[in-house]
Subunit: 244 residues, 2 copies
DNA sequence: GCCGGAATTTGACCGATGTCAAGTGCGGAT
DNA sequence: ATCCGCACTTGACATCGGTCAAATTCCGGC
């Protein structure tokens, strides 16, 4: 069983360049012509590995670089004035972090590793220069931001439209889909986030999330043991949570 | 009383260029150096006025241009697979429309005029060329997208965190703030959207929205008569709805 | 293998909000 | 001016999910 959200498959050599990276198709260079990938990877540094629980970016800190998770996973979250945490989303390998930072040049949320994590960083200075030169990269960045915006809006609508059980079903179906794109099992995985994180992402309480897991289990959609999940009817699960 | 969300103040001459536009500070050119404003306005066309209820953009249609509302207001919305409408947001003068379209080059939601509406359009072809040439515009577009993303995420968090009355209060406070930036009265305005639109934006039913208006009225926060709203304690209203 | 704290599950209860159903009033059309 | 339709308001009731509390399981350290 997969115990972590890891990019490298067994036996794949260490990732040294964007061209050879197992995540390339999912990452920024995914839709770039080879020449641009070349140029891009010269601007990419490798961040040093972080332990679980450490911050990848801090709310309010200047956005010095664009970060992409390479292995492990993280949660993007912020704290309201009255001290309640809201979880904006979970970041998997190949996904960018803190895009909201483009708004003001300053991150507007925290991103925290949920497990040991590696990442790549593109310093803004170099990135801006490249954006000027590479039309493909320009398009890609806009695509990324537009996609994030669309997803956020869509998710918001869904949260208000469906009940707790469906939100959890949709969350699991979404995880499954994203893991599958990374070459991991879409039916059997370990969640790296707590029930509480899931709850604060879905606008529920952790008790309700737990009950929803229970309900889905009783109804035969999945098996759960703590954070290990096995989806028994993944196609159908996507449907019960599924709306536009 | 303002009967519409209009950009032009009484006596202001017709808007013929970005430089002289009353909305300039709020719009794309707001943070651009004058030289770039020059270049930009040559790429801007004026859309022909639309009647209330007509579509500004259609979900699924290719994103041929970036549109900005010039006068009037609109709602951005989409329909789930099971036919339920979700309202992503309301667009006021100076605000861009359908930014999610950057994701796939295709709009992923409908935008419908809530009242007679005028708008500007920047065809994508010209816009892309300008983005290549103008560093300020590049930054501005990223700022716009990042801001939209941040706002969407923040709003989502708030919706799940506060009760119906607070959501409505926050919605009104937000409207008030946005109208004020446009030189309109922050305390006395006519809502261009129905209770139903508000409900579907806030993740509530129209009955609950109506009751919330009633509660806020009884508590002395505002006066309401159908769509005409008078905020009696705007500062405080921002607080009761107010979180990070 | 055992222990202790944290995460998770489960249960009981209550309140906010959705649902269904009447009213009410505003605005446009005749 | 009157009528009609639609948006909005208001009420009664059911229900989902939040809250508080307790039991149980999991996991890491010894």
């Amino acid at each position: 069983m997969n115990t972590r959200f890891h990019a490298k498959r067994a036996g794949t050599p260490e990732c040294v360049s964007c061209r050879d990276c197992a995540l390339r198709a999912l990452c920024l260079p995914g839709h770039l012509p080879l020449a641009e990938v070349h140029a891009l990877e010269r601007a990419v540094e490798r961040g040093r590995p972080l332990p679980a629980g450490s911050a990848l970016v801090h709310c309010g800190a200047p956005m010095h670089a664009l970060l992409v998770v390479r292995s492990g996973s993280a949660k993007s979250h912020s704290v309201t004035l009255d001290g309640v945490e809201q979880v904006h989303g979970f970041v998997l390998p190949g996904e960018a972090v803190g895009l909201e930072g483009f708004a003001a040049g300053v991150y507007s949320c925290d991103v925290t590793a949920l497990e040991p994590l590696e990442y790549c960083r593109m310093p803004m200075r170099g990135l801006e220069a490249l954006i000027e030169q590479l039309p493909g990269l320009r398009r890609e960045i806009l695509r990324l931001l537009g996609g994030a915006l669309d997803e956020s809006q869509r998710l918001r609508g869904q949260l208000s439209l469906c009940d707790a059980r469906n939100r959890v079903a949709r969350f699991l179906a979404d995880m499954s889909r994203r893991l599958a794109r990374r070459g991991l099992s879409p039916t059997e995985f370990r969640l790296s986030m707590s029930r509480r994180d899931i709850a604060r992402h879905l606008g529920l309480t952790l008790e309700t999330v737990s009950r929803s897991f229970g309900a889905l289990k009783r109804e035969g959609w999945l098996r759960v043991r703590a954070r290990d999940v096995t989806l028994l009817r993944p196609e159908a699960l996507a449907v019960i949570g599924g709306r536009a």
